[in-house]
Symmetry: D2
Subunit: 366 residues, 4 copies
């Protein structure tokens, strides 16, 4: 079987996560890594046996032996790097988001389509064994015809003021994952959206505009299949990273719980419960998902299959977060007909629903 | 200690539930029971050692020794019977609803207030040990400042077409309990409400008007304390009666699960899980709640305390269900300022929040 | 249907438990209660509507209208009172143990048999919905052919020194219930037994003789069906009253957990677990079992069925606890052939295994 | 930091497991692998980027650049290969058992001690995050002073007749892991042992001698600290691989559950429980433990620490399994004073209790 030669842009925290994931993937071999602070690229190369390193992302993109580029740079560079990859004929695995605004997102997607390179938006939750199991139950009809989807998503603690400010708010920087998950589970396109937000945790952000002032929000999405998904998000859960899904069908319900580092339970004189707290954030909670998304994209490259999570999927998640912000601000249902960019998305032919049966349910760690 | 002499109107299913609950209450003694089909009254009297029985509810209401009347008749008789009780100076324990329309509800409440008799709306879920525990965690600050409330409520299977038709729909005949529970847990008054409904289970009801056509709905209530409660209801849960609550606060979360007849778990070659299904409906699930609400009202009578769940509480639940219906129909947020009857409710002085610490957390069965 | 007129001996803690249980039983009516301190009998009579009270147990036993006597007196009086009941032709419901030594136990059993009155040993755990569910799974073949039984039994805290001293030790005053449960679940007679004890909690009892010096013990019982049951007991479980069973069969396993006052779970910054502790001791944990055993015995009386838990069952439990003590002291397997009193037990014709399907799985509180 | 050059003997199933584990370990690099069927060595070398392969284990042992040898060959070769490694001055990581009889085990241990090379017995369960968490709770005093240890260990299905025949029976081929775990958790040396076995699953093995005829067994081990550990094992658990531990202390209890591939729960009309079955056997269940033991031994090599699980630990586990067999056969407590080889073990200075806090609780996959 052909091995994919991978170039990695970025040796920061998420770059390291992807190097670890790539180490579990027999089909892929990182051959070069870049980072502006080149010493970080060098260290990562040493640790993960990557033969070359550089300070310049272009060296990665234009490396003659590189088949696919893993973009793990800050968000503002994504769109340009994707377009450069497309120009160089390299497949692209890009950390969410594709770009920071909608026009650039569409441009980047179109560039890949025109160059006939595969583009993967790394919405890793789709590849988490828990969420993938819910998807499978729906696809397989284990819960019957789908009736309703509910998602709960709470970060362990609020981000710094500077992160929130200018980030576009809770729908764009946080709920975007849940909006994508609701669409993934629903297997339908959104029709209209209703959102409401409020601030209860960190009152300092109340001065910020629009959805940036919220740390708590509830969203209802009505889909074309007439089903609704309900999402609640909060920037603080003192008990850890809270990520749960529930799907009700005509034959039953499936729901997922959070993940703990072990199964031990303690029974003391003042409490009986888990011996340890749930995983504390996405780096630990979604470790397996990062491996699975890597395997899934490598499989797509090796077998020339559609990207398991397309650029259009990333675009639609962004559109939904924008529409949620409009709804919360205007206190009304927002129809997706009102958002012109939806056209770019619904026209897409590659908006494949990832098949969790084939990919994600063969966990590497078993 | 004084024993309350109780008269019971109605020897149907719910009447029997209350006779059983009264049997657990040392402060109360049923002395007469009525039922139009007098043989049912006679049988119940024999089984529960009630000395007198009659076919005529007036014999109960006007019995010289009766201190309090338990109204367990069909809903359409409630308002008149409450008013007759008020006239006769008898305290009233009334199965929800107080009346079938708002004007009569207010009349009945006012009649009791004028006659200075206590009126209890039997919203039994407030007295369930599970929901009461959530309330206690909120009141005691165990979860910190409240951030959000979520309720899930699913009946085991849809009611007959004839029950749905003319019943006012899913918000009025089903979600009314959850709307009350959200207000109870929130400890605040509702500001505006958003609802959406759909039909996925029994397509025969789709021909019915308004909310009668829904078997699935989602509701967001924004309260005056700026917090939101999210409620999802469905007329069918193949796995049993599903009644769960979750409250997030600044210090943590509390959530309840459904109840099972035993703790046994089976581990077989194709499944590992509970040996038996959850309790199947309100008669089994809320058995303890029926006892606790009885104890709470008897305590209020003996010690001359406010009714633990007032007529105004019943009225507000009705108002909320009406507003939810408006919202779903009109596809918009409905403000409670738009509902004139709210005035009757918010003017009320007795709208006490029941204290679960004192009452419900001393379960009879321990 | 005939109502059983019941006389109750003893208005102490366990007497009150049985009065409460009798209140839930439509077939039984307490008509007289005795207690040496007559004021306690009077109070109990008032609270539970018992028409007569007395200081003299003989008044109960010889009351002309009494059909059955509930013996809730201290253990040393049991044997004589049973024999008096037999003489008076009254059926007997007797709190465990039948008597404090084996000879008297056999005498009491024989007296009842000779007088043709029913004798029930109130080993309430057999009627607990959780243990009864394990029995049902075994009987119904849900776990296939039985392979192994395991029981864990831990009291919340050690009893006072004076209770332990002279009580015969941990096998007799505590494990006796578990030995009976292992035999009940196994549905076979014990062949040999191995026990080992030690002291880790309250070192003051180490001076006591034999098994009185133990607060922790492990027992293996080999049954005639070649299966073994393993029992571990401890006088202290800081997290509450711990009572669990596990049965492995050729098709699967069934296990029970402890019981909690509600289903609420708390998720805080330093723990995630049950919001409240398990029930703290037998009075709360076995509340339902007390009701069920009462219903079962009343049913046996009304329908003239064998006692659901016979005197011989009580005798065998006693024999097993004695044999366990011998084993621990002598550090060897003790065969039941070595215990002559077993003869009285295995000769018994009434050693019926209680059928949990018929009785215990119709909980009163559903 | 120095990288350990590793030679691997054996490219069978367990050899592959260790190659995968080594891939997660930045301190170790496999440089040669051997297998008698050399094509398997070649395939493994290709898949895991091992530069050299051979059909001859001696090439591995005597390779000049190899620092440590991972022995993954069939058990009968272990002792000789360990001695050859010692002679060549190579550290040894050996799959359990060290040797198939006691004399050879001691010889192998002594050879390593004389050559001053480290010897690790790969008892991987000690490094499982769940069992390690129990150990930590005991070591840290979270459950107070230890009172009792209980272990349950059930294979998913019985091995073939040919595996059982001549394998020494259930204590030696199966319970040996649990005996070691009980000693590990107890942190004390065994004083006497009592075992009983029976056959309920596969009656064909009943013709085999001694403990080979058992598929079910219960063991009590009394330790020098006066505490007992109780172990039950069975060769069949239709619901999957069942591996649970429970430790009771004076302040509380800790217990572990089995592991599932995801957290999803299904609620259908005839069951509510885990959406998927537990991991089915040691390859999936102990995946993380294999990584952790590798990390722990590499750490010992890099920092010149004692072996985290010594040869003496392996020897003692073997001795305990032999003693259990004697007990079951002779129906009596067997004292470890009766086993002369214990001397070799208790004289050992390296019988270190592995510290789970330092090693195992830093899971690679977080």
């Amino acid at each position: 079987m052909k091995v994919i030669n991978v170039g990695v842009i970025g040796a920061g925290r998420i770059g390291i996560v992807h190097l670890e994931a790539l180490a579990s993937c027999p089909d892929a071999k990182p051959i070069i890594i870049s980072n502006p602070t080149v010493s970080k690229a060098k260290d990562a190369a040493a640790k993960f046996n990557v033969p070359e390193f550089t300070s310049n992302a272009d060296d990665v993109i234009n490396h003659p032996n590189v088949d696919a580029v893993w973009i793990c740079s800050p968000s503002q560079y994504h769109a340009d790097q994707i377009k450069a990859c497309a120009k160089a004929g390299k497949h692209v695995f890009c950390e969410k988001p594709i770009a920071t605004d909608m026009a650039e997102t569409i441009e980047a997607i179109n560039a890949c389509a025109a160059a006939n390179v595969k583009l993967m938006t790394a919405l890793q939750r789709r590849f988490d064994p828990n969420f993938a199991r819910v998807k499978k139950a729906i696809e397989d009809g284990q819960v019957g015809e789908l009736v309703q989807v509910k998602l709960c998503s709470r970060d362990p603690s609020p981000p710094p003021f500077q992160y929130v400010k200018g980030g576009g708010g809770i729908f764009k920087d946080m709920a975007v994952h849940d909006l994508d998950m609701s669409r993934f589970l629903m297997g339908s396109e959104p029709k209209r959206i209703l959102a409401i937000g409020s601030c209860h945790i960190d009152k300092s952000i109340e001065v910020l505009p629009g959805a940036e002032a919220y740390d708590t929000a509830t969203i209802i999405v009505e889909y074309e299949n007439e089903r609704t998904a309900t999402i609640d998000v909060c920037r603080q859960a003192p008990y850890g990273y809270d990520q749960r899904a529930e799907a009700l069908g005509t034959k039953g319900m499936i729901q997922t719980d959070n993940m703990y580092p072990n199964t031990a339970r303690l029974y003391l004189d003042n409490f009986t419960g888990n011996a340890d707290m749930p995983y504390d954030f996405f780096m630990s909670r979604y470790k397996e998902a990062y491996v699975q998304e890597t395997l899934a994209f490598c499989k797509a490259l090796v077998h020339d299959l559609p990207s398991p999570c397309s650029g259009e999927d990333g675009l639609m998640a962004l559109i939904m977060s924008v529409a949620a912000g409009m709804s919360a601000e205007q206190g009304r249902w927002v129809s997706f007909d009102e958002i012109p960019e939806v056209q770019a998305c619904t026209d897409a032919t590659h908006c494949e629903i990832y098949d969790p049966i084939e990919f994600a349910l063969e966990p590497v760690h078993q």
